[in-house]
């Protein structure tokens, strides 16, 4: 925090009105062309060198710790590998089996797609609303924030499985609450038609991480912008749409992308609630849960690796598309 004065001093040179305008009015290249050519070259090289110096740890980690295991798993996806003996090359067999001879695989795809389609939008909306609520000035704010965040702090702690049954079991809290209104319902975790609903609820229960990212973004929006908009006669909803949302788009983008990736890879909730089985009757057989069953319980790591790379391909395609859409709706502070 000792550097704060320096930052403050610099921020004062920023024209406040420019912060609010989000139109792309000054491409950087235009500004750069004003400089002499040789200096551009020099500063460009200097910048590249500086960049790679900053990137040294990450590049090392990438090559030594991340890429090796990733590529090895790609290789394994073309083999039959039971962990205990050496892998045996089988070509595309794992990939073809997946789509032609494995109903449980297709089931896991269906379960995961339903889960992603429902949980991601809900999670984003709920966490944005709560972030807005907790960004206001009111008493006990710190306490409220901590309390709303509490479930997310628990992680996948072993206690959650027990707690979850308590809430959604046949004799659980939810049913006791429903009974007050005269509604009778069986177990929510034990019924194949409802089990996925309870896992989506579990996801929403731990909305805290997404909310914190939104909240941190909201804190960063200069108050002056809201005040300026208020002066111009904008109401709360208008201010939200024309000031808050545009400034939040980088984080909305981030949370949507990461939320989707995480939802596709979702494992812990189903693992904890179903005891690793994906039950009842495969109704919570998430993609990675099935992958884990194949890889570790059934000792079919080649097949599991193939599943992982199919997922990677799907997510990569989705991310590429999503990044492409970003140019139309995401506004960065460095684009001005």
């Amino acid at each position: 925090m000792s550097d704060a004065p320096a930052a403050k001093e610099l921020t004062e040179t920023v024209r406040p009105e420019s912060l609010g305008t989000i139109t792309d009015d000054g491409p950087r290249s235009a500004r750069q062309t004003r400089r002499p050519k040789s200096r551009i070259m020099k500063s460009k090289t200097r910048e590249a060198i500086a960049a790679y110096v900053f990137l040294i740890p990450w590049i090392l980690g990438m090559i030594l710790l991340t890429l090796g295991p990733m590529l090895y798993s790609l290789y394994l996806s073309f083999t039959q590998y039971d962990l205990l003996s050496d892998p045996r090359w089988v070509g595309l067999q794992n990939y073809t089996r997946m789509f032609t001879a494995d109903p449980r695989y297709l089931k896991s795809v269906a379960v995961t797609l339903v889960y992603v389609a429902i949980s991601v939008p809900l999670l984003l909306i709920v966490s944005m609303l709560l972030a807005l609520l907790l960004n206001r000035n009111m008493k006990f704010l710190t306490g409220y924030r901590a309390l709303f965040y509490l479930p997310s702090l628990m992680g996948a702690s072993v206690a959650i499985a027990a707690l979850w049954r308590l809430v959604f079991g046949a004799q659980g809290l939810v049913n006791q609450a429903l009974a007050i209104f005269g509604i009778e319902h069986g177990s929510w975790v034990g019924n194949p038609d409802d089990a996925l609903t309870t896992i989506i609820t579990l996801t929403l229960w731990v909305f805290g991480s997404t909310m914190i990212i939104f909240l941190a973004g909201l804190r960063q929006i200069p108050k002056e912008l809201h005040e300026a908009a208020t002066m111009d006669g904008a109401g709360a909803i208008r201010r939200f749409i024309s000031v808050t949302i545009p400034l939040m788009t980088p984080l909305i983008f981030f949370n949507t992308l990461m939320g989707t990736i995480h939802a596709f890879q979702s494992f812990t909730g189903a693992y904890v609630v179903s005891g690793g089985t994906g039950g009842p009757a495969d109704s919570t057989l998430f993609y990675t849960l099935y992958l884990y069953q194949r890889g570790f319980a059934q000792l079919d790591m080649g097949y599991a690796s193939a599943m992982a790379w199919v997922l990677l391909a799907v997510l990569a395609a989705f991310s590429a598309f999503f990044f492409w859409t970003a140019r139309f709706w995401v506004h960065y502070g460095d684009e001005r």
């Binding site: 925090m1 704060a4 930052a7 610099l10 921020t11 040179t13 420019s18 460009k44 910048e47 590249a48 500086a50 900053f54 990137l55 740890p57 990450w58 980690g61 990438m62 991340t66 295991p69 990733m70 798993s73 000035n137 009111m138 008493k139 710190t142 924030r145 901590a146 965040y149 702090l153 628990m154 992680g155 702690s157 072993v158 206690a159 027990a162 707690l163 809290l173 991480s209 914190i212 909240l215 941190a216 973004g217 804190r219 960063q220 200069p222 108050k223 208020t230 006669g233 984080l251 494992f267 990675t288 992958l291 570790f296 599991a304 992982a308 997922l311 990569a316 960065y332 502070g333 460095d334």
Partner: protein
Amino acid sequence: MTTTTPTRPAARTIYPTKKVTNPVLTAVIRHALIICFLVIMLYPVIWMVAASFKPENEIFNGLGLFASRFTLENYASGWSAGSLNFSRYFMNSFLVTVLSIAGNLVACSITAYAFARLEFPFKKFLFALLLGTMLLPSQVTMVPQYILFNQLEWINTYLPLVVPHWFGVDAFFIFLMVQFIRTLPRELDESARIDGCGHFRIFSRIILPLAMPAIGTTAMFTFINTWNDFLGPLLYLNRTELWTVPLGLSAFLDATSESAFGPLFAMSVLSLAPIVGFFIVSQRLLLEGVATTGLK
């Protein structure tokens, strides 16, 4: 309970067209709603805290918060259960967590600065690679990673849990910081550059202080992830004196025999305390701090 802040009444007086409501009443209603919602949401957690004070064989008797008697024996027996020793596990967890947070903050922030602010060859490719590492489910890289760390003879040490953080393997945080830094107006570093600041100075003097919310978020998330991590310690730590809190907690469960739910809940409650504490401190410093010292 007057909760209105100095800025709000000012805004209201300018726009009298808005419905004038009793601020005390709205505040009371707002707080009541929040508390109602919180109680519903947190009931399982409240129940867990209550359960940790129940005699062990009455824990699962119902949804109520109270048992036949109040007891502290779960805490006493859980804290040092036979060869388990939670004072040790808390120390170990702290060590691993602090080292991981430090690593993540350093490695992720410098990487993010490069991606967010600097131009260099292969930038697009490297950024795609960065994102690509997040797309593969970790379950399949677990085995090759274990083989790697085993070859390095890192089993039974904290190195496999800590070292990767110093090399920025958590692409999530790098991406998060990139997104944060890119929301900062570029005029800031442009003007600093004109003043003759080098990249490291721009990074440390301008970007870092302004990206405090991202730093705080990263620290918080790393704390949670590391503190709750179970699989890493399970694979890499054998000796009980090296165990972290989640390993100690899971030892209370035995699917084949008898589980100790009382001590489990008691120690789970205790293991939550550091994270909650860290959250309260860090949000004071970071979420509140930035609003006053940052872009104002």
